[in-house]
């Protein structure tokens, strides 16, 4: 996926002015939030489970090299090929090579964020291999000219029923339908043919299990099962941080992942896949490949941002983020939106390419409160902001403004004079009303809200007065 994070401000303004997107976001808001709130009550000790999950993920990352070796050994022992990719280009090269080797003409895909990171669909097309997205949401985006997803688990949360109806009519050449079950059936029938005819299935992996060399896949639609049961080649693409030690650890994490994501106590399908088709088995792939991807992750190991590698991609942080709820996911300009994206995008693609993202948060800590693996997202965003300042990455006018501020603030007399002037000016501007609808010098501040009128006296003046009395 093309990085568009540097255009965050413009993207956000466009999102605010898009009535369809605004209506869709309003509809979705609350659904995920309310369902999660109910689902976590079923867990007797939710806090202890979160703590345990955090420990599982930390344990892996603290010895990541050794756990990866362990996983590789176990997977190879069951007949899988374990490959490694440094970046998106290498993912594309490896998958195309595998496709060519096995004479693949069509690849069915279950949602994989890494393949978005790599822009894999375009590379497959260029190599003459037809990629077909099979998650309903991802499929809708693919037939809309490879539109980027706006959420990691609900990729078309920003789209209206009418838009989907138009797209299906145009793509399938069928009469326009606006009944959601009928639309879903239409997609089912189209995609069924692809599942049955594809030679290769490509999936992400929610977890890699070191003990057994397995991948765990979580879906509701069952497309993950289709992609890994029917084609003769299966390629799993995951980040190197996705390893967990044991099946017991999977059980613990599965108490949190669906509850945090969709508010379900478990997803409809959880599959643990190990090795290739067994002797006498009528289904399952003959060839299994794991592609373990770095793409920026290795550099985060052992850094002050290491906590972020715990992420299990549940999406709760974005569901609960007031900024995400208002602008949707596409404004963030890369694969990962919301608070997790505001940390991941700068880390994986470079701080200088995502200059506004660490500021695209109110630091209200809703994200930190709901994160099932206790990632301190606001702290990480704050650290990224500090890094930007250290590396002089903020725009010149902002740096100049802070320099000026620092110069004035370290001169008490001048500071007193300045603030006295400012509050009186603002009071005069309010003209007796309780708030100021438009600040001439900083119009952005009052675009969506009024500025409260100051009393007309500074704190220092009032303190001096009362202190004497």
């Amino acid at each position: 996926m093309k990085l568009r994070a540097h255009r965050f401000k413009q993207n956000a303004l466009e999102a605010l002015a898009n009535p369809v997107l605004q209506a869709s976001m309003k509809k979705a808001k609350g659904k995920f939030v309310d369902k999660r709130a109910i689902a976590i009550k079923e867990i007797d000790d939710f806090e202890a489970t979160r703590e345990a999950a955090k420990e599982i993920r930390n344990r892996v990352i603290e010895n990541l090299d050794l756990w990866l070796e362990k996983f590789e050994q176990a997977a190879a022992a069951r007949g899988a090929h374990v490959l490694w990719a440094k970046d998106g280009a290498e993912i594309c090269r490896l998958v195309v090579d595998i496709g060519r080797k096995h004479g693949v003409k069509k690849a069915v895909k279950s949602k994989s964020m890494l393949s978005e990171e790599a822009g894999l669909n375009l590379a497959l097309e260029a190599a003459g291999i037809q990629p077909v997205e099979t998650d309903l949401g991802e499929y809708i985006l693919q037939i809309n000219d490879n539109e980027p997803p706006s959420h990691i688990i609900a990729p078309v949360v920003h789209k209206s029923l009418d838009e989907v109806a138009d797209l299906f009519q145009k793509t399938h050449h069928t009469p326009r339908k606006t009944d959601i079950p009928q639309l879903t059936r239409e997609a089912r029938e189209v995609l069924r043919q692809h599942f049955l005819s594809a030679e290769m299935g490509i999936s992400g992996g929610n977890f890699l299990i070191a003990e057994t060399g397995s991948v765990a896949l979580v879906t509701n639609e069952g497309n993950g099962r289709m992609v890994t049961t029917l084609p003769r080649v299966h390629v799993v693409i995951t980040g190197i941080e996705k390893v967990i030690p044991t099946l017991e650890d999977l059980a613990t994490l599965m108490r949190l992942l669906p509850r945090s994501a969709t508010g379900q106590s478990i997803s409809n399908y959880v599959s643990v896949l190990t090795g290739t088709k067994a002797e006498g088995e009528s289904d399952g792939p003959e060839h299994l490949y794991f592609i373990l991807v770095d793409n920026g992750r290795a550099e985060v190991v052992g850094s002050e941002f290491q906590d972020m590698l715990r992420c299990i991609r549940c999406g709760a942080c974005m569901n609960h983020c007031p900024v995400y709820q208002t602008i949707g996911g596409q404004a963030y300009g890369w694969v990962y939106p919301g608070p997790m994206g505001s940390v991941l995008t700068p880390l994986y693609t470079g701080l200088e390419n995502a200059i506004d993202l660490p500021h695209a948060a109110t630091l209200c800590n809703q994200c930190g409160v709901v994160c099932p693996v206790k990632i301190p997202l606001p702290d990480l965003l704050r650290k990224l902001r500090e890094k930007q300042v250290e590396r002089h990455l903020r725009p010149w006018f902002e740096r100049l403004a802070f320099r000026l501020w620092a110069w004035v603030a370290s001169r008490p007399a001048l500071y007193g004079l300045g603030t006295r002037f400012a509050v009186r000016y603002l009071k005069w501007l309010a003209d007796g009303k309780g708030s100021i609808p438009r600040l001439g010098l900083a119009p952005e501040w009052t675009r969506g809200r009024n500025f409260p009128t100051p009393e007309g006296r500074t704190f220092r003046e009032l303190y001096a007065q009362r202190g004497r009395a």
């Binding site: 659904k31 007797d44 010895n63 650890d249 088995e281 399952g284 190991v301 052992g302």
Partner: protein, 220 residues
């Protein structure tokens, strides 16, 4: 340098890996794998009958339907009744494992094999079932093909009450004890396939079955 060595090399450098701490690290890994520590668990009843009740209740919550029968011999008739009640074809693929039951005696035409696209009904057993979430644990194999619970629009599962366990942990322990190594595919199934992608409206039957019917066999 291969990408493998490059990536692992950078991870090692960032973790300050040395030959000495690799030895302690590997020991810690082996200990964790041997211990298989469990996380906090929600309280579950220990009585078999209460586990059955919980499985039934949770399955209904996932839009499955449930019938409880006495023995395996009652299963073909129960399946035939269920299909007739919904006006569904009395024709099914069945796990080879279950081929010995008297399906034709109940008026059903069954074939014991993996499923193909147009098979209307798939009948499976289950390796075990998980009361905590109302989930079937299906282990793929020559006698229990994964496609039977996936391709047909209707999935019927025979669930022996004696194989209902508390949580996923017990399911995995059983797999280790009875199968040695994990089968190629373990599929946990909780109700029919579903999607909420279009305007968060839940629709059943996205790619997999539209309906899942559990037949709980009390005295297996």
């Amino acid at each position: 340098m291969s990408s493998r060595d490059d990536i692992l090399g950078r991870v090692r450098a960032r973790l300050n890996r040395t030959p000495e701490n690799a030895v302690t690290g590997r020991a810690a890994i082996e200990a964790a794998l041997a211990m298989k520590a469990q996380g906090p668990r929600p309280a579950m009843p220990s009585q078999k009958s209460a586990l059955v009740e919980r499985l039934v209740e949770k399955s209904l919550g996932f839009s499955s339907t449930v019938e409880r029968i006495g023995t395996y011999n009652d299963a073909p008739a129960a399946v035939a009744r269920y299909l007739a009640g919904l006006d569904l074809p009395l024709r099914a693929v069945v796990w080879p494992q279950l081929a010995h039951l008297d399906w034709s005696g109940a008026g059903l035409t069954v074939e014991a094999r993996g499923a193909v696209d147009r098979d209307p009904v798939g009948i499976t057993g289950c390796f075990c079932a998980i009361a905590e979430t109302g989930t079937l644990m299906l282990c793929g194999g020559p006698e229990s093909p994964a496609s039977v619970s996936l391709l047909p629009e209707t999935h019927i599962a025979l669930v022996p009450a004696s194989r209902i366990v508390a949580g996923m942990e017990e399911g995995f322990a059983l797999a280790r004890a009875e199968l040695g190594q994990l089968p190629r595919a373990i599929n946990f199934v909780s109700g029919p396939s579903r999607t909420g992608d279009i305007e968060q409206t839940i629709v059943l039957g996205a790619h997999g079955p539209y309906r899942v019917h559990l037949v709980v066999v009390e005295n297996d």
